[in-house]
Each structure stands twice: as structure tokens, then as C-alpha cells.
């Protein structure tokens, strides 16, 4: 995961590779020397304390930050200069922390506005989140927080991505809704073949979903392992993230 040279080329089997990436907003770097490889079907939990750089990592994958050095590859090709809109077309679905629902569009319009051909159709998204089918005529701003989160995930799926980026998908939601969304993500992990990167403050929840874990502190990767071993090692988890 780390320690590779900047010159180490990604494997063609990798979906996304980051090599020694430094990135941030304007002149200030937030990420420092990030190395990351994501293969098809991978599930990675990105953990860290507040301000560690987790959201910035996702924003960098989406082309929303300034990359000052290092390389980013998508399916082996240089990815740094590709604009955000093109990245979505190339197969990255982003569910940002703020959900970014279009308030005046209906649920169905929110879903179809991003639709691209592929296995994810309106029906399949509504099967995954039956609440969206019930609320399909409602405007985006008439939904609860949980429904908005389902809509944000559904809309990203309608892009038919190869890689899904989920930024704090459970943040601020009631336990019953968290459970519903968690079940949906579990289903995606098991059945869809999608690669998923999940940034989540609730570490145990994220580790129970993902296969691999990456802990970031002050913009650097300080730990990388499989999720299960980190979940089982409570002292290490506490040392890395503080008491939960």
C-alpha cells in the first residue's frame, strides 16, 4: 500500500492508483504522499479523526482539489488532468457528505438527471431503496435526511460507476435509517461487483462493511490492513482513532 516509488507503475488490473499524491485546496496541501491502489470489487474503509484528510482524499479522486505532486492513474492511464465531469463519465460515482440533492427536482428527476446506460436502472435503484419508489414524485427538498442519503446513493449508482465513493453516508441519521442504508451497502458489496470506498466516522460500522482499512492522520496514511484484523484489535483501533 505504501512505500512504493513514485515511478512504480500501476498494474493494469488496478482500477485506481495514487502514487505519492500531495493535494489540497489552493496553496495548502492537506494530503501528503498518499499511495493507494483500488482493484475491481475492492471495498475500502477510510478512517481517521476529524480533519485527517478523509474527505479531501475522495475530493482528490473526483478532481475537486489541487494536486501539487504525485500521480493518479485510472485503469493505468494518467488521471490528473481529467475534469470532474469526465471522471463521472469514466466510472466514478461520488456521494458527498452534503448529499447534494437538487431540491427543486423530483426524486425521479434527481435519479434520471445523472443516468448513464448500464446495469443500474431506475427500477433497480428503486428495488434497492423502496422508499425512493414511494416518494418518486416528491421534490428533493421534501425528503428526510435518510431519504436524501438514499437518493444521493441511488443517483450515483445511476451513473453506472465502477467505483463508488461514499463520504460519511450514515452521518446524522437515525439508527433505523442507518440500518437500512447499511443493508443496502452490504448488498452492493456482496452482489454488485462495484469497488467501494467508504469514509465513515463510525469506525466499527465501516470496518464491518469493508474488506480493507486505511487510517489517515494529518493527510498521511498511518495504517493499512484488512478490516477484520483492525476491528478485532481494539487497543490498536483506540490508539489510531481514539476511544469510540
Amino acid at each position: 500500500m505504501s512505500g512504493e516509488s513514485i515511478w512504480a507503475m500501476p498494474k493494469m488490473s488496478d482500477l485506481l492508483s495514487m502514487r505519492q499524491v500531495r493535494a489540497g485546496y489552493g496553496l495548502s496541501n492537506i494530503l501528503e504522499d498518499i499511495d493507494l491502489d483500488i482493484v475491481p470489487g475492492d471495498t475500502i474503509a477510510i478512517l481517521g479523526r476529524n480533519g485527517a484528510g478523509k474527505t479531501t482524499l475522495l475530493a482528490t479522486i473526483m478532481g475537486q482539489t489541487t494536486v501539487t505532486s504525485g500521480k493518479i492513474f485510472w485503469r493505468g492511464g494518467d488521471f490528473r488532468i481529467v475534469p470532474a465531469a469526465r471522471r463521472a463519465h469514466m466510472g466514478i460515482g461520488w456521494v458527498p457528505q452534503e448529499r447534494w440533492i437538487f431540491p427543486s427536482l423530483s426524486v425521479r428527476e434527481n435519479l434520471t438527471v445523472a443516468a448513464r446506460p448500464g446495469q443500474w436502472t431506475l427500477k433497480r435503484v428503486e428495488d434497492l431503496f423502496p422508499r425512493l419508489a414511494e416518494r418518486r414524485r416528491n421534490a428533493g427538498n421534501q425528503l428526510s435526511g435518510g431519504e436524501q442519503q438514499m437518493l444521493a446513493i441511488g443517483r450515483a449508482l445511476m451513473l453506472n460507476p465502477s467505483l463508488l465513493l461514499l463520504d460519511e453516508p450514515m452521518e446524522g441519521l437515525a439508527p433505523v435509517i442507518i440500518n437500512e442504508i447499511r443493508l443496502a451497502i452490504d448488498k452492493l458489496v456482496r452482489e454488485s461487483g462495484l469497488s467501494i470506498v467508504i469514509v465513515e466516522h463510525k469506525a466499527k460500522l465501516a470496518l464491518s462493511i469493508a474488506r480493507r482499512a486505511l487510517v489517515i492522520d494529518r493527510g498521511r496514511v498511518i495504517h493499512a490492513s484488512d478490516s477484520r484484523s483492525l476491528l478485532d484489535d481494539t487497543p490498536l483501533l483506540t490508539r489510531l482513532l481514539g476511544p469510540s
Binding site: 470532474a84 465531469a85 463521472a88 434520471t112 438527471v113 450515483a156 451513473l159
Partner: protein
Amino acid sequence: MKAALIVAGWIAAPVLYMALFPDSLVLASQILLMGLFALSLDLLVGYAGVASLGHAVFFGIGAYGAGLLAANGWGEPLSALVLTMLVAAIFALPVGLLVVRGGSLGRLMITLGIATLVSEAANRASGITGGADGLQGMDVWPLLGLFSYDLQGRTGFVYAWIVLTLGFLAVRSIVASPFGLSLQAIRENPVRAAALGTPVRARLTFAFVLSAALAGAAGAVMAQTTQVVALNSLGVHLSADVLVMLLIGGVGRLYGGLIGAAIFMVVHHWLSDLDPVYWQIWIGLILIGAALAAPDGILGAIEKLRSRKQVAW
């Protein structure tokens, strides 16, 4: 059933109007064409979220285009209409590319600057445009080779009605299409829309071009039915007027431009008859009152009333 009623209404309304108000057909044609002009601006402002203070440039290109063709031996109205729409669209492409690069205030400045430039260029080119005296000597041929433009304005009224109907159907289809939805998404948040794969500048430029073509159609039919083209048809004043019409009716609501154009034109006509000296003062006062009473336009106010009633029930 509902669709059949709407179609019947669209057909019956002009017939009924012609029977009831045979002496007001010229004003009615102008209202219809200003409604189409406002509708074209609604596509740009209301759906794509691109503010413009220079939309009359495209109306003027349509008007001068059709006028120049008719004054120089090509008076066939339908082919001239299509041709001038194309010219307006072609002119709009580089302008649109420039405009969408700016922020909201920058867009206002760019469109205002272009309107000033084009207006002054038309004034200077008086040998072609007629300058301050307006374009004269137009000879518009009968519509479909059958219907001449009568003094009462019947042919002009029906022609304007048909063009408005087609324009309305086109805009309605556009805003309901995935392209139209993406425009609304961009209006609400361009960064968000880009992250979902929407090529923001390309879509806005295309919306700008479509809107300009529609404005050009309104201008062309106005020139063909009134057989007069003056410099104010591409001036900043008309750009402001059409924006006001849209604001009165309600932005981003399809019918808003039509309702706003009707109210603005009727009030304009009525007040200038009533008080030929100070009518603009009354217009100004009415506009301030309307903006305070219904900031989202008439349709916005109706929507608010409806939602209040629903809450009360």
C-alpha cells in the same frame, strides 16, 4: 382527456379572441410574440440560470434578418423565419461560449456589453439597417402563398399564435428532457452537476444557442407582421423589458413569460393611452409594487397561496 382539452383550448382561444376582439388583433400579435421572446429568456434564465441583459440582440437579429430579406427581394415568411433563427443561433454560439465563462454578475456585464456593441453597430450601419429611421421598404409575401397581411391583423395574429404554440411545445419538451433536467441541475449547483458527469459549459452554451434561436423567431415574425424594424428591437431597453415581463409572470415556470408579457403589454398600452406624458412613472410604480407584492411573479404567488391552502386543510 386532459391533453385533448388543452389542445382544444389552444385551437379555440385564438378563434374566440378573433370573434370577440377583432379590433385588437395587432396588439394581441405583439403580446404573443413578446410572450415567445419572454419564453426564450425563461429557458435561459429560469431553467439554465444564466442571467442576461442583452437578450434583445437575438430578437433584433431575427427582426433585422427577416426585414432585410423582405426588403431585398426575399419576402417568403417561413423560409425567412427558419433562416433568421439559424443566423441568431450561429451568432449566439461565440457569445454563449463567452457568457458561460463568467459568474452571475460577469454574465450580466458581458451580455450588456454585447447588446451595447450590437446596437451601436446597427446604428452606424445605417446604410443597411436604416439607422435611427428604422428599416423600411419590406415586402413580405403572403403566408403559404395564400394569406396576405391585412390591416386588421388577422393573418399576423394567426401566424404569431402558431409560432408561439410551436415555440412553447419546443421549450416544454426541452425542459422535460434529460438535457432540460441537467440545465436545472446546473442552475441549482454547477459543481454538483459537474460531479455527476454533466458538461456544464457545453450544456449552458447549447441552452444559450437554443434560447437565441427562439428569440430570433419572435423577432422575425414581429418584423414580418408589423413590417417595421427599429433600432430599439435589439437595444438594452427591450432586454430589460423582457426580463421584467418574465419576472412579473414568474421565472422558470413556462407560462410565466406568457402571462408577464400579456400583463406588461396591456398595462403599457393602457397607461400610455391614459396618461401620454407621465405613463412611465406609473409603470415604474406598478413594477415596484409588483416586485414587493409578488417577488416570485404571479405564478409564484399562486403557488404560495395553493401551498398555504393545503397546509390549512
